[in-house]
């Protein structure tokens, strides 16, 4: 990716560990020698609303955010949020989506329907890796490693060495959760490897 700035939008629902994931990504990018900027929104969005965090890295990064059609990757922790943020993706960009559903209030209280066929909608338009990160996190031994599973998938698509990722995980994750997080990260990478083998 060289001199060009890479933009990842991490999207999901308040409480899913989005800000921790985007912190790990920012730190890994900094350790890899890139200039990094990250933007997120606090406040109202923490109360179960949609949350997005933008991470940008490259030789020199100016703006911490992007507009429509500018992101390289959308890393979505929930599938409706993948769809919501699709307009920010470049036409040749990529979506990594957790095949997981959290009903927003208008759906939960019966006012609106949760859209069917989101994964297919994404796949018809853009390179998409869909996975059940929750299942893989369980396999890793800790349901809360869901965000690291997703980072594992993402890591295969970025120019940041694996050792740096593992160092950052070791530093930022509580000591007793390190092993589970490393397994989760590897499981995520395997998903990405299989996805590319299949292309």
């Amino acid at each position: 990716m060289g001199k060009k700035t890479t933009t990842v939008i991490v999207a999901g629902v308040g409480g899913q560990g989005i800000l921790l994931a985007s912190n790990l990504l920012s730190e890994a990018a900094m350790e890899a020698g890139y200039d990094v900027k990250k933007s997120e929104i606090h406040g109202m969005s923490q109360r179960g609303g949609d949350v997005i965090s933008t991470v940008r890295f490259g030789e020199k990064v100016y703006s911490p955010i992007v507009g429509l059609g500018e992101a390289d990757v959308i890393l979505a922790f929930e599938k409706l949020e993948a769809m919501r943020n699709l307009p920010y993706l470049k036409k040749e960009g990529m979506v990594i989506v957790n095949d997981y559903r959290i009903d927003p209030l208008p759906v939960a209280s019966g006012y609106m329907e949760y859209p069917e066929g989101i994964i297919e909608f994404l796949k018809e338009r853009v390179k998409t890796i869909a996975l059940d990160a929750r299942e893989l996190a369980e396999k890793a031994g800790n349901i809360r490693t869901m965000n690291v599973v997703l980072l594992g998938v993402l890591s295969k698509n970025l120019d940041i060495p694996e050792e740096i990722w593992l160092q950052v995980i070791e530093r930022r994750v509580p000591p007793k959760a390190i092993d589970a997080n490393k397994v989760a990260f590897r499981l995520g990478r395997e998903v990405a490897e299989k996805a590319f083998a299949g292309v």
């Binding site: 629902v13 308040g14 920012s26 730190e27 900094m30 200039d35 990094v36 900027k37 990250k38 933007s39 997120e40 929104i41 606090h42 406040g43 109202m44 969005s45 923490q46 109360r47 179960g48 609303g49 949609d50 990064v61 100016y62 703006s63 911490p64 955010i65 992007v66 507009g67 429509l68 059609g69 500018e70 409706l80 949020e81 769809m83 919501r84 699709l86 307009p87 920010y88 993706l89 036409k91 009903d103 927003p104 209030l105 208008p106 759906v107 939960a108 209280s109 019966g110 006012y111 609106m112 329907e113 949760y114 859209p115 338009r125 853009v126």
Partner: protein, 607 residues
Amino acid sequence: MKKAILSGNEAIARGFWEGGGHFANAYPGTPSTEIVENLMKYPEIRAQWAVNEKTSLEIALGASFAGARSLVAMKHVGLNVAADPFFSASYIGSTGGLVIVTADDPGMHSSQNEQDNRWYALHAKVPLFEPTDSHEAKELTRQALSLSEEFDTPWLIRSTTRISHSLSIVELGEREEVEIKGYVPDFEKRNLLPVNARKRHEVVEERTIKLREFSEKFWGNRIEEGEDSIGVVANGISYQHAREAIPDATFLKLLMTWPLPDNLIREFASKVKKIFVVEEGDPYLETYLKAMNLGVEIIGKEKIPMTGELNPTIVREALLGQRPSYFEIPRIPHRPPALCPGCPHTPVFYILKRLKANVTGDIGCYTLGALPPLSSMDTCVEMGGSIGNAYGIEIAEAMKGLDPRKKKLVAVIGDSTFYHSGVTPLIDLFHNNGITTVIILDNSITAMTGHQENPGTDVGYRGIPKRRVDIEKLVRGIGVEHVYTVDSFDMKKLKEVINREIHRQEPSVIIAKRPCVLLPQMKKRKYTYAIADPEKCTSCTLCWKLGCPAISVTKDKKTWINPDLCVGCGVCIDVCPVDAIYLADPEADNARKAGEEVLGWVKKQQQ
């Protein structure tokens, strides 16, 4: 050089520490909160939460009188609350360096307006810095402290959401140790009797001339040479957007935006054929530049949006006509924030909705009670507004010859907001013979901004014990006779009391009390959850109307409760008319029990 990746707010805190800062206080407000929160981590600094922004500035100004380097931080609308001492502080100047940070919120991510606080600098004649990233946020804060002493003026630093909450790489420095000078009276400088204030105004005007000269030479105001066809003037985060959108232009980068450097602006204008002014919010720079009669075409708000945030794509489209190419999506359900599962505010709004009350609201998590399905708040104006608004409606209804009680008027206000600015309107209502009912939602914390202590809390940061201000005693002290403290989860009692009080021809205050379910003592426990029996559920929709994020509707229109989200508070169990909902393990811990234990809450407090 040591580097770290910091948010703008962390960087401002770091800059204050490096600059030898001594004292900081603030009332929390998004996006400014983390500044003082981070300052609490530095042992050399005394940092604390204030009851409101006006008070925080008065205290910081007092500390400056005694020669302490001081900081006060607030969200943009907080400066409205603090405007009175802010204008006076400009006349008085500073003894210990005094920095005031205003964090504006273009795009209104968490605010009721998107006012542009650069005008405050111009209006009060207080110098203004605007960083464009975290490193500059740190450096400008550090330097503002000594500059404030050098020029004998408070110094305003304006951040915005995308500066405060964006992270970028910062080069860290060491702390400069500065001694607190100690208090020495200076009557002519600090007592703004007209006889002194007239002289001080002269001082302010002389100071402005010196600041203007400083602005010309200041390192943060500079021309970045590029092609001569386009010149761009930009401030704050807009600089970064514009730098990315139009990389080859000649830039006039302005980190000090009041007073502005006239000579530098003229020099820049002479180098370019056309000027784009890129700024979020009001045409602050544009108005100034256009009035200078620079002899070059200046394009600003003709093309750049006046509302919302900017980004590089918007700038590119507005100024260069490059339309973005992107995927369109169909209309999908939005995901509004909601009151948490187990939130003590939920039953109160549920009851107000059932009673068809007319509710004036206020600022806090509980403002979410305005959204469907609770939909039980008519107004939300500003901090502390609810009580005065309700009382005003009462007056107008009465003047029209109607019985205001028929309107079922209720003002709803949170505990922290009540301390902030709800006490004075309650005094007004009581004294002027008002009868409107006030409900104080007391969850024992300032929740919305992330759990800062308030006067109702008896422990402060780092476990420092604090004196607690008892809301009930405070209200009774005003003279209100009908004061009732009710458990927010006791819905039967709560409904009975609210229904009685909204019809009373005397003023009354109901304190609905329960700790926030996100308090650390509450959050770390493991709770059981509720289960809805689909055989018994009659799809009556009552529990759906709680708006609890744990409750959803199945395809065959039955209630389903998400065990991952539910905390077993049991409010839906109380609401269900056919006993279809029950706790998975009635013996296990649940949020209702936890709340009672955490606060030592006892039923005998009820009347």
